[in-house]
């Protein structure tokens, strides 16, 4: 994209600028690029760079890409675009398309790695003066990597003109890198090392490591200190990155498990069809998006806002139906509940498979959910961030419902003492159904979120059911805070183990850890105490 912009810009410049008057001169410079051995070519490249004329950047870029050719008929050096052995020739100075020839009629100007380095340094130096700050920043970056002392003059010129702070910082870093290659005095070089250390990314690290290997004495020491500082910094960022990944995984686990924390934790009902509620939520999102695509495409960005209440309603109503139809006959027989809901999950899976087909369905990300945010060396994708926000919002909403509404009060009353609650006039059967509906509805919400990061297939729920149970059991049954802590802990532990053990082994280790943990604390991290325990 940037390259295209440069080309466009340069094309315009070349066409309009007085550089046309110097054309024969430029023509000779370009011709020199194709002559002689690699050392002569390198000299020619530096000669082109010395003009500082941005119109010649395209030639150098074409040379680096292997798209510079010598026409055999007249020896002219031209830019060529190859397409299936046919080469379209373009004049490098006038930018006119000349002709399309077979590959036999031209000869490619050959380059080696040394020339490629020289080219990128030259291009970097020449684009440092571009009016576009992005191009300048990019150029500073490439000069930094090549650390070419030849670019120093251009860098100083660019620094004098620079107004953008970010680009200025980049330029200064590039200048520091270039300075280290010159025979400047120790103090200057020390200052340069400090500038590079402050930059603190992988490029800076590799530069300093190279310097540490090539220099000696005090300079080597300074380079070593700088490299060590960067390494420490990167290590810290790496830990921060693991934690963010872990929190992201934790938020997904939280979403998947929190509905279960209500049905299993509060009601004591083992709902093996919980994963299928998540899956139905994801399919609701799919249906909503399909409807929007075919009837009113501009609405696509708000598809999730439509899907959220719909998914809650759909899965909530299905949940109420399940409670009224099956589960209420099985209260007090948890193992039977487990089997019946497992059967139900098979039926739901097969129903979805028959309706929507067994393959993954495409659920798109709205535009505000794509992209990423960078903080220092951290990259956080926007959808992960939104899911974290969403899961915390769902958690907060559930806490509010449980603690601050009359429905929540009645729900807790029924959980704690069914007979007494009934005697006080609470319709316990209705509360059971509503609670189960709430838990299932929350699972549907999880489905909307998971549709953004996972494959929407009939097996979607299966992948989460065991993890969800682990989270609830680990966190402690009947306690939403426990579920939050459990989800985040398991997420972070999993992500910290992954780099050492690999994804699958990390998962196995976490499972083993939970299994051992349950032996130690059979009622989870936040165990209920008192009478409710044995109820």
């Amino acid at each position: 994209m940037i390259r295209f912009l440069i080309l466009l810009l340069l094309g315009l410049l070349a066409w309009a600028s007085p550089a046309r008057a110097q054309e024969p001169d430029h023509r000779a410079l370009v011709a020199a690029l194709a002559e002689g051995g690699f050392s002569e070519k390198e000299a020619a490249i530096q000669a082109v760079a010395a003009t500082g004329d941005p119109s010649l950047v395209a030639v150098l870029e074409a040379m680096g890409d292997g798209a510079l050719y010598t026409r055999k008929s007249d020896g002219l050096v031209l830019i060529g675009e190859e397409d299936r052995r046919q080469i379209t020739l373009i004049d490098p100075l006038t930018r006119e398309t000349l002709e399309t020839v077979g590959s036999r009629e031209v000869e490619r100007v050959r380059v080696n790695n040394r020339l490629r380095r020289a080219l990128s340094a030259a291009i970097g130096a020449m684009t440092l003066l571009s009016p576009d700050p992005n191009v300048r920043s990019e150029a500073a970056q490439s000069v930094f990597r090549s650390a070419d002392p030849e670019a120093l003059e251009t860098l100083d010129e660019a620094l004098a003109r620079e107004s953008d702070d970010n680009v200025r910082a980049r330029l200064e870093q590039a200048r520091a890198a270039a300075l280290l290659e010159t025979d400047a005095d120790l103090e200057t070089k020390r200052a340069a090392i400090d500038v590079i250390t402050a930059r603190g990314d992988r490029d800076a690290l590799s530069l300093l490591v190279a310097l540490r290997a090539s220099s000696e004495g005090e300079l080597q020491e300074a380079a070593a200190t700088g490299a060590a500082a960067i390494e420490r910094r990167l290590k810290r960022w790496e830990i921060a990155q693991h934690i963010t990944y872990g929190i992201s995984l934790g938020s997904v686990l939280l979403l998947a498990a929190i509905g279960l924390a209500i049905t299993f934790g509060v009601m004591g009902v083992i709902n093996m069809a919980h994963g299928e509620m998540v899956m139905l939520g994801a399919y609701t999102t799919f249906v909503v998006q399909e409807a929007i695509r075919s009837y009113y495409p501009p609405l696509f960005d708000s598809s999730l806002f439509i899907a959220i209440p719909l998914a809650f309603l759909v899965t909530g109503i299905i949940g109420i139906a399940i409670e009224r139809g099956i589960i209420r006959w099985l209260y007090g027989r948890p193992l039977e509940t487990l089997l019946a809901t497992w059967g139900l999950s098979l039926v739901l899976q097969q129903a979805v498979r028959s309706l929507f087909g067994p393959t993954n369905r495409e659920v798109g990300n709205p535009s505000w959910m794509s992209g990423a945010i960078e903080i220092g060396a951290l990259t956080i994708t926007a959808n992960r961030l939104w899911i974290l926000v969403f899961s915390l919002a769902v958690f907060a909403a559930l806490m509010l419902i449980l603690k601050r509404t009359s429905f929540g009060l009645e729900m807790r009353a029924v959980t704690q003492n069914r007979q007494m609650a009934g005697a006080m006039g609470i319709r316990t059967g209705r509360i059971d159904a509503m609670t189960f509906g709430l838990g299932s509805g929350v699972a549907g919400l999880a489905g909307v979120a998971l549709s953004q990061i996972d494959n929407v297939s009939p097996n979607l729920g299966q992948g989460y059911i065991i993890d969800s149970f682990m989270v609830v059991v680990f966190g402690g049954v009947g306690n939403l805070w426990g579920t939050l802590t459990g989800a985040m802990t398991l997420g972070i532990v999993n992500k910290f183990l992954e780099p050492y053990a690999g994804a699958v082994l990390a998962k196995i280790l976490v499972l083993v850890f939970i299994i051992l943990f349950i032996q130690k604390r059979p009622r989870g991290l936040f165990a209920q105490r008192g009478r409710a325990v044995e109820a």
């Binding site: 006959w329 089997l339 065991i466 149970f469 196995i508 299994i515």
Partner: protein, 405 residues
């Protein structure tokens, strides 16, 4: 004397039925000519043999669930471990007849550029050692797991969920190539067992008979356990665990014993399953498989042993019919079965049958019924007379007490 004491008439009939099947199926396969209407082809023999191993597996689950209340959702793991132990023996029997013709290593190891056999594969070229492992590996896992779980009193659904996590963890582990168990593809391409080619009809028939014998032995062992004093304690644990503990029984020891025994039975079932099916892969560890075993037992009727065998046969026959005729509908049927059995047939087919027989017996007119009815009427009459007299006496006493006031 054990047989007469614990087996009961139902048990005898069951053993006779197994013996009949063990003789009849190989006979129909080997002796009867292919044109004969009762000829059983090798597909049928393998299929029925598979059912028998499933029945043994169901028996193992019934032993712990029906008699001790431990609902294991991970029994497929023990089955698969037994199967892998057998599979490893069969892999070693291939020798240099594999695709890569490597005399030392199985094909998948050659493929992974391994140069020597991992230590846990040592000894598997010996049949007795492999059979020992079939028992020991599932047994050891069950023992270690049960040791931790039962001692810390993890019970009920918690235990079920954790057993499910165990089999899930094993599933993930066995999918890994560097575990050294063939990864995704598992172990397959077996050639022969004890020198007899696996494809031969006689070998298949022998494996079938072995499965029948194993099932019969498993049934006898299970009956011996449930019929003994130990079995009574197990049922007590199932019905009132805390009370049993307070009476002085070491509940966790009983549970650990029966859980380990059951895991070993499952391991044997797996070991017999693999040569008849010809493959073992990590899919056998999937939690869904383990839950399906539980439904076999539930359909047959838990706590009956015979019911587990009947249930395994019924459900798997249904599965074979459905998946060949209308594969789309199989999961619907299985799911509906889960729901229907838990809601309407909590004691399974055998339990419902028992209830029906009981009900029929009550319906049958009793020849002495009218005499009993007369007696009852007279007794009631006498009681009401007594009651009247008592009331009259009380009234008189009150009347006499009244003037004193």
């Amino acid at each position: 004397m054990f047989l007469t004491r614990h087996l009961g008439p139902g048990g005898w009939w069951f053993l006779l039925a197994i013996a009949a099947v063990a003789v009849a199926v190989p006979y129909c396969n080997l002796v009867l000519p292919p044109a004969h209407p009762f000829h059983a082809n090798s597909y049928i023999v393998s299929l029925l043999g598979k059912y028998l191993t499933y029945a043994l597996l169901a028996l193992a689950v019934d032993l712990i669930w029906g008699f001790c209340g431990i609902l294991s959702l991970g029994h497929g793991a023990f089955f698969a471990l037994g199967g892998y132990a057998m599979g490893m023996y069969l892999m070693r029997q291939i020798g240099d007849r594999g695709v890569y013709a490597n005399p030392l290593l199985p094909d998948f190891m050659v493929f992974l550029n391994w140069t020597e056999l991992p230590w846990y594969w040592w000894g598997f070229s010996s049949f007795p050692y492999a059979m020992l492992m079939v028992l020991l590996v599932p047994g050891a896992l069950a023992f270690v797991f049960g040791w931790f779980a039962f001692r810390s009193r993890v019970t009920g659904v918690y235990l079920s969920i954790i057993t499910q996590a165990v089999t899930y963890a094993l599933l993930l582990a066995f999918f890994r190539n560097d575990m050294g168990f063939g990864g995704n593809n598992g172990l397959t391409d077996f050639k022969d067992i004890l020198g007899y080619p696996l494809q031969a009809g006689s070998t298949r028939a022998a494996l079938f008979a072995a499965s029948a014998i194993a099932l019969a032995l498993g049934f006898l062992i299970a009956r011996a356990v449930t019929g003994s004093k130990l079995g009574k304690v197990l049922v007590a644990i199932r019905d009132a665990e805390s009370r049993t503990r307070f009476l002085g029984y070491r509940v966790e020891h009983y549970k650990l014993f029966v859980f380990t025994l059951s895991a070993m039975m499952a391991g044997v079932a797996g070991a017999l399953y693999v040569p008849q099916v010809g493959i073992i892969n990590p899919g056998e560890f999937s939690p869904a498989n383990s839950i399906e075993i539980v439904i076999w037992v539930a359909v047959g009727g838990r706590g009956t042993l015979v019911g587990a065998v009947v249930g395994a046969g019924l459900v798997n026959y249904g599965k074979t019919v459905f998946t060949t005729a209308m594969p789309e509908l199989w999961l619907f049927a299985l799911g509906a079965l889960f729901i229907a059995v838990t809601l309407f047939l909590p004691r399974g087919v055998l339990g419902a049958l028992g209830d029906y027989v009981e009900w029929m017996r009550r319906q049958k007119p009793d020849p002495l019924a009218h005499i009993e009815a007369q007696r009852q009427a007279r007794r009631e009459e006498a009681e009401s007379t007594e009651h009247f007299l008592a009331l009259a006496a009380q009234a008189r006493a009150e009347r006499e007490a009244a003037p004193a006031e």
